[in-house]
């Protein structure tokens, strides 16, 4: 009834609106180029109240200059925004909320702002639509959360506005694809404007404006773990993972979560795993950021391929020199792509293994703590069975047989392992009866407790006590005892039924280091292929150039 029948139907109102915005911005730009001094006014000109805005923020690359500029706009003009973006990591993102310019957010991960975000939610100053996984949010970009304005970060632009996003391409293609083809405004901040780009990652006609930022966009070296901090306990858990899981199932395609536990596994590949004769048999193909701790395994010939979500600061020259391993453009620099790598991790990998903070008796695993809304990132997609998977592999088929021994219809299963020391310092338990996620959901008014990985998807739990093959359990009671059986001296572990645990051990559902033929006393730092960042630099032949604050020479 909105449209009187006498008028012809209009099907391009969005397009007209897009053109009106461009017309308002025209005076502030020279072609697509905008000067840094005009960017605040440009944002005020092209953004309308209520717009869905994506300020590109990944867990590494940040469109920080555009975020700062947006925070400097007039709140009378730029208001009621709905942020739709992967990461809320910058203080400016929170400033925008505090200034009343943003009224709603849909996101995946909040990292360092988790505490401030929780406070703003509790104060009722921001409404969270939902906390997504990366893929889920990207999916919604093409359904009901399409950004009207995309503020993105690229390394370089040429004069026409073609962009080079280079090794840290990350989320950019997904965001631009959604905005540019649905009448959205795409504004890029670039570190430099050059005559000729190394390669074109985003063509100019998908870009409306670009601005040279006064300082290069910030990149967090999120995946760098200093081998000097890896403990004997982490090495023991890595030995259990390699012998009790990787070798057991012959896992060749995999993704590692971030952390020291998985870094320890990576550094044990050229030593412990090689001694077990596993080279070429495990860990050949990866969906993984270019972890510096992978260098020794790559150099030892363990690895055949790595596709990456993003890059890692300091790894650029090393990656460029190893094009057989990494995905490298014809210009010689790496190209990453979070959306594709997430798909790879979900559908094409047999194993995900990652650390966590808390695991409950059903195997639900969460990193949520009260007073911090930190979100998910990509782990739930990596760490869940891919029900749509139809290609077989030995590891996947075996996991499926073990999980459903009596099923008539054969099907595989993704291996999802959680690796965690039973207690943190000062006896803080990793195993709990009730996840803190419940409290957080209550205090923040969430519809669901923020669970990182659901128990039904977790096939294995590895602790310093041993490995629990949850997928081999036949009843929920067995599953609970299998978890208690590796929960060590936590209350959960102390309350185990010793007879049931022994029974599970006899059936190979729980395996302790001695059952695997692992001598705990072997778990020393001597097993690490690199014991310091400098060892990694040397292993790379000087190609790895670590961030300044990781050096001690």
């Amino acid at each position: 009834m909105n449209r009187p029948s006498s008028q012809p139907a209009t099907w391009d109102r969005e397009k007209q609106n897009y053109q009106a915005r461009l017309a308002r911005g025209a005076a502030l730009a020279s072609g697509r180029k905008v000067s840094a001094d005009d960017i605040v006014r440009l944002l005020e000109a092209v953004i309308e109240p209520g717009d869905r805005v994506c300020i590109e923020g990944n867990n590494q690359k940040q469109a920080d200059f555009l975020a700062k500029s947006l925070a400097r706009t007039d709140p009378a003009l730029v208001r009621e925004l709905h942020l739709v973006q992967s990461v809320l990591a910058l203080p400016e993102h929170m400033d925008l909320i505090e200034q009343g310019q943003v009224s709603r957010v849909d996101f995946s991960f909040s990292g360092q702002q988790a505490g401030r975000l929780a406070t703003l939610v509790e104060q009722g100053r921001i409404k969270i639509g939902a906390i997504h996984t990366y893929l889920e949010l990207f999916g919604r970009y093409f359904v009901d959360l399409t950004p009207k304005v995309a503020l993105i970060a690229a390394q370089m632009a040429d004069r026409d506005g073609n962009l080079y996003t280079g090794p840290n391409t990350e989320d950019t293609p997904a965001i631009v694809e959604a905005a540019a083809f649905k009448n959205g405004i795409v504004i890029a901040q670039v570190n430099e404007v050059v005559e000729k780009l190394p390669r074109v990652d985003i063509p100019a006609d998908w870009v409306d404006y670009f601005v040279k930022a006064p300082t290069p966009h910030y990149i967090e070296p999120l995946f760098t773990r200093d081998p000097a901090q890896i403990t004997e306990i982490q090495i023991l858990m890595a030995m259990i993972a390699i012998k009790g899981l990787y070798a057991e199932y012959g896992i060749t395609s995999l993704n590692h979560g971030i952390g020291f536990d998985t870094a320890a596994i990576e550094l044990l590949l050229p030593t412990y795993a090689a001694e077990l004769g596993l080279k070429g048999k495990i860990c050949t193909n990866w969906a993984l950021n270019p972890h510096p701790t992978m260098i020794p395994a790559i150099e030892a010939g363990f690895v055949q391929s790595i596709h990456s979500f993003g890059s890692e600061v300091g790894m650029e020259r090393y990656i460029a020199a190893r094009p057989d391993i990494f995905f490298v453009g014809r210009d010689g620099s790496m190209r990453s792509n979070r959306a594709f790598s997430q798909v790879a991790g979900h559908y094409a990998c047999d194993l995900f293994i990652g650390s966590t903070l808390q695991i409950d008796l059903a195997g639900n695993s969460s990193t949520a703590t009260k007073g911090r809304i930190s979100g998910f990132g990509g782990a739930p997609n990596m760490g869940s069975d891919a029900r749509g998977r139809r290609h077989a592999s030995p590891a996947w088929l075996r996991a499926g047989r073990e999980a459903r021994p009596h099923a008539v219809m054969p099907r595989g299963q993704k291996l999802v392992a959680q690796i965690v020391e039973t207690s943190r310092e000062h006896m803080q338990p990793a195993f709990v009866e009730r996840l803190d996620a419940w409290d957080l959901a209550e205090s923040s008014g969430m519809e669901l407790p923020p669970v990182m990985i659901y128990g039904e998807d977790v096939t294995h739990i590895i602790t310093e006590e041993g490995i629990a093959h949850l997928l081999r359990c036949e009843t929920p009671e067995e599953r609970e005892q299998a978890i208690r059986g590796v929960a060590g001296y936590t209350q959960v572990g102390l309350a185990r039924d010793r007879r049931m645990v022994e029974n599970l051990r006899d059936r190979g559902i729980i395996r302790y280091p001695r059952d695997l033929g692992i001598d705990k006393r072997m778990a020393t730092r001597d097993l690490l292929a690199a014991r310091s960042i400098k060892d990694l630099v040397l292993a790379s032949g000087g190609l790895y150039n670590p961030p300044k604050h990781f050096r001690n020479w």
Binding site: A228, R525, D526, R531, S532, V537, G542, K548, H549, F550, R551, N552, W553
Partner: protein, 299 residues
């Protein structure tokens, strides 16, 4: 025998001694079972260590009798408290009686222990005096520096009083720590998170280039042992005579010249440049042997 190198940086104070001296030659004074713990830490309800973070004793190195102390950098940052300081000072006093070829101080310390600052400060001053007294009795004192805490605060001064300073490139010598300087003077004065800068100012290579350290070795206890053995051979044949006023005056005048020469230096790069290094960006990664060769080959 093919011996795997043992990181000096990572090793505990006990492992350092065990791997540095001749096998089975070490006798510990005030061993852990005597429980000479810090009364101050007890009063403050803080964790204590049976050796108060330093072990002292007698040993042989390449056959030479030595007295030796090793600070545990992981216990309260190797900081010097009352008991800790008394053990070090007692060791130097003992040297006057036993007359070893040298006293070896394996320094790994941020300086005075804040929990017992007055006692610690007094201990440091006693330690400085004891080192001078030991040297003036003709017994050299060596500082070995390659732990995570380096040699800072009072222990930085103590180290510079030593006859020989053997350092690894991970080792550091300084007075105020980088974090302290940043806190007091701001990040523009010293960005303590820029660890490459921190090492260009305080690290083993720049200290060697400046002459603050007499030997630069790799991060391997075997390398520390080899350098120490060589210097013990040298000193065993030629007893120390540091009471010579001419030597002292010469040392002071050299320091004045150095202070003038580097008056405006804001970065270790300038020191490396003056020391004859041409590829300044690659100095940090230069293997120790190549660094020593280039340094000693320079005018």
């Amino acid at each position: 025998m093919n011996v795997k190198p043992i990181n000096y940086f990572e090793a505990s104070a006990r492992t350092r001694i065990a791997c540095l001296v001749d096998p089975e030659s070490f006798t510990e004074f005030c061993p852990p079972e005597l429980r000479h713990i810090s009364p101050h830490l007890v009063r403050l309800n803080a964790p204590v260590a049976f050796d108060d973070g330093v072990m002292v004793g007698r040993a042989r190195l390449a056959g030479h009798p030595v007295l030796i102390a090793s600070q545990e950098g992981k216990f309260n940052g190797g900081a010097v408290g009352e008991v800790h300081g008394a053990k070090l000072r007692g060791l130097l006093d003992k040297a006057l009686i036993e007359r070893p070829v040298a006293v070896l101080l394996l320094v790994d310390s941020g300086g005075v222990r804040l929990h017992e600052a007055n006692a610690g400060l007094i201990a440091i001053s006693e330690l400085m005096r004891a080192i001078l007294r030991t040297q003036s009795a003709g017994i050299p004192v060596f500082a070995l520096i390659g732990g995570s805490c380096g040699a800072f605060g009072g222990m930085g001064i103590v180290s510079r009083l030593c006859t020989e300073v053997i350092i690894s490139e991970q080792g550091r010598i300084g007075l105020s720590g980088p974090e302290v300087i940043e806190t007091v003077k701001g990040v523009d004065e010293f960005d303590s998170r820029d660890r490459a800068l921190v090492w260009r100012i305080t690290g083993g290579k720049v200290r060697r280039a400046l002459g603050d350290a007499t030997r630069l070795v790799g991060d391997d206890i075997g390398a520390f042992r080899a350098a120490t053995a060589e210097l013990l051979d040298k000193h065993a044949g030629r007893p120390l005579n540091s009471s010579d006023l001419d030597d002292l005056t010469a040392a002071h005048s050299n320091l004045s010249i150095r202070a003038q020469r580097y008056d405006t230096a804001r970065d270790g790069r300038i020191i490396f440049q003056e020391a004859g290094f041409t590829e300044l960006e690659s100095v940090a990664l230069l293997p120790v042997d190549d660094f020593n060769r280039q340094l000693e080959g320079s005018p």
